[in-house]
């Protein structure tokens, strides 16, 4: 390292860290010392493509399996994530719907869980900014408030989408997505390969292809292979960041620390630091995803231009959320095929994504290995399970504008690729871990970024919202 002490130390290089740095650098006067500690390495998209094609690529060693990095106590539940430069921007599938305003007011509107200490209006401008950076493709009309257009045009509808959009208007829209509908300066246009984790044509936004230059900024120094496990604290202030690199222990001093790892590692760091907040690590989870195949009579579903072609909000908002969860419908182009003559593509695929609630039975702790968080996940809430039962009742009516032959429900997915909660945002330390600016209630020079800060989960995908929150936090605090 070039220095013994830094103005800002950032942990991780994923969405949360990168968007935080983007705003921090925009507001700083160009004379800051910033250290970034990344537990993984730079493993380029080009190298990943070689591996996916079966070619040998030495960098494959930089892609450890997620379950080698945590102690997972529930073998029936997966938690997929990637480490290394760009974090989970390397494995996300690019779905970027905003949260609904009601998602921030679950207690006051529905008597469920807690309200966030911020509202939709507070972060609305930062949604715009994040969407601009990600060059989101999206429609003109949306179910959530939005001023102005998305940077890129919406993806193409199929005939099925057109029929549903005609019936439901802004409750059925082309999905806002970071899978580009047109080629941009740094990305190609999506070809609907439906293999988005590592996009075959590099159409999906990632930190690597973002055009963001935060890690090339001369104020920023990045250290790879640095596994942060603890903060040294004194009188409620974090003084040093402790990490392991090449099997050796290091520590470095910082005035401000931003934890931008995923909720497992952020929690591990806080607990190893002596954080006694009763909510740290508690109530993490993710949405429940179930696929339903819709067999259509004399109607093809071909012609879409991306993986998730549309989002349906017909089961999302309403009084029902007092009793059961919101459901966001992802209408996807996964290549399910029929084999009856002339019906090969007469099938639509809905993924029903149900919000869940933070429950104490699902929690993260430290383990005997200081680098490995322990993940204890017992299961979904009744709130989510009841919503699925309701969706099964309502779908036939919702789909009555289509020539439906039959519906086939597949087993729930073992994961949605999201990790939410564990360091929830709240008005005070008695009800959560971080304040509305993502600053830890006790350690006032520590930001805890990312989806771990979500007070409640929403049914919508988290990456856009957590990116907007990073912009919001850095803008308000510097």
């Amino acid at each position: 390292m070039k220095n013994d002490k830094y103005d800002l130390i950032v942990v991780g290089t994923g969405f949360a860290s990168s968007f935080f740095l983007q705003k921090y650098l925009a507001k700083s006067k160009g004379n800051k010392k910033i250290l970034v500690l990344e537990r993984g390495y730079f493993y380029s998209h080009a190298e990943k493509l070689k591996v996916r094609r079966g070619e040998s690529a030495p960098d494959v060693k930089y892609e450890p399996k997620w379950d080698s990095l945590v102690e997972n106590f529930n073998p029936r539940k997966d938690w997929h994530f990637t480490t290394g430069y760009g974090g989970s921007s390397n494995c996300w599938w690019g779905c970027t719907p905003r949260f609904m305003p009601s998602d921030f007011k679950m207690q006051s509107l529905f008597g469920v869980a807690q309200d966030w200490p911020i509202s939709y209006d507070d972060i609305e401008p930062y949604y715009d900014e994040a969407e601009e950076i990600m060059q989101i493709s999206g429609p003109d009309a949306t179910p959530f408030p939005k001023k102005g257009k998305y940077p890129l045009p919406a993806h193409k509808f199929t005939k099925v989408d057109e029929i549903l959009n005609k019936k439901y208007g802004n409750q059925y829209i082309s999905q806002p997505t970071a899978r580009a509908s047109r080629a941009t300066a740094n990305r190609n246009a999506c070809m609907a390969s439906s293999t988005c984790g590592t996009c075959p044509v590099d159409a999906k936004f990632s930190i690597e292809n973002s055009g963001m230059t935060v890690y090339q900024n001369p104020q920023v120094e990045i250290v790879y292979g640095a596994q942060v496990y603890k903060l040294e604290t004194l009188d409620g202030v974090a003084r040093k960041v402790c990490y392991v690199k090449d099997d050796k222990d290091f520590s470095v001093e910082g005035d401000v620390i931003a934890l931008g790892a995923n909720p497992f590692f952020n929690t591990n760091i806080l607990l190893n630091s002596g954080d006694t907040n009763k909510f740290t690590g508690k109530g993490f989870g993710e949405q429940l995803g179930i696929q339903v195949l819709i067999y259509l009579d004399n109607l093809s579903n071909a012609g879409g231009s991306t993986w998730v072609n549309a989002n349906g909000y017909m089961l999302y908002d309403g009084k029902h959320r007092k009793d059961y969860a919101a459901c966001l419908i992802e209408v996807n182009n996964a290549p399910f095929i029929r084999f009856e003559k002339d019906k090969w593509l007469n099938i639509a695929s809905f993924r029903l994504v149900f919000e869940d609630l933070p429950e104490d039975k699902n929690y993260i702790t430290t383990s005997a290995n200081k680098l490995k968080p322990a993940v204890h996940y017992e299961g979904r809430s009744d709130y989510a399970e009841k919503a699925f039962a309701n969706a099964k009742k309502q779908l036939p009516e919702i789909l009555s504008c289509l020539p439906v032959e039959r519906l086939k429900y597949l087993d729930p997915f073992p994961n949605e690729g999201h990790i939410i909660g564990g360091t929830r945002m709240s008005a005070n330390a008695e009800t959560g871990v971080v304040d509305k600016h993502l600053v830890h209630h006790k350690y006032r020079n520590v930001f805890v970024l990312g989806a771990g800060s979500f007070t409640t989960y929403s049914a919508a995908n988290p990456s856009l919202t957590l990116s907007a929150l990073s912009l919001f936090a850095a803008d308000k605090m510097f």
């Binding site: 599938w93 390969s193 071909a302 879409g304 182009n333 996964a334 290549p335 084999f339 090969w344």
Partner: protein
């Protein structure tokens, strides 16, 4: 591990379309019954028999003989199981069609269906058949 579990983990049923290494144990009998299952359900197509055989060989690559697996595929065939009630058969047929020129030929049943290599979005020029690049919005049917 069950094949379906593996597919779920690898993301195929989520939307990913990578062919995983086969977990089946393969004997000549398995290949024979698997080929018959394809020919039975797709009997209305002009299948290239050598292509079906090559596809089966690639699909079950890395396998070895196993009596129980052989019996399983034989039972699937004789029990009148089909793609609607067997995930194994559904996967077998799905990847077969994705691995041929059937969708490239706009699902023209008058043309022979040729195997052109196991479907892999990282290697294959064949796009997802639902993509507008391959087929237009209305596809084969002209629903209003």
């Amino acid at each position: 591990m069950e094949r379906r579990s593996f597919l779920l983990l690898s993301g195929v049923l989520v939307g990913m379309v990578t062919i995983p290494p086969s977990l089946y144990f393969v004997s000549p009998g398995i290949k024979r019954y698997a080929a018959r299952l394809i020919e039975k359900e797709l009997s209305y197509l002009k299948l290239d028999k050598a292509g079906v055989s090559n596809y089966i060989k690639d699909y079950f690559k890395n396998g070895s003989n196993n009596v129980m697996a052989n019996v399983k595929w034989k039972v699937l065939y004789y029990s009148r199981s089909d793609s609607n009630n067997s995930n194994n058969i559904n996967d077998l047929l799905r990847y077969y069609l994705l691995s041929t020129d059937f969708f490239l030929n706009q699902m023209d049943v008058s043309k022979p269906v040729n195997y052109i290599g196991i479907f892999d979005p990282y290697k294959s020029p064949i796009a997802n058949p639902y993509s507008y690049i391959l087929l237009p919005k209305i596809g084969v049917n002209n629903w209003p």
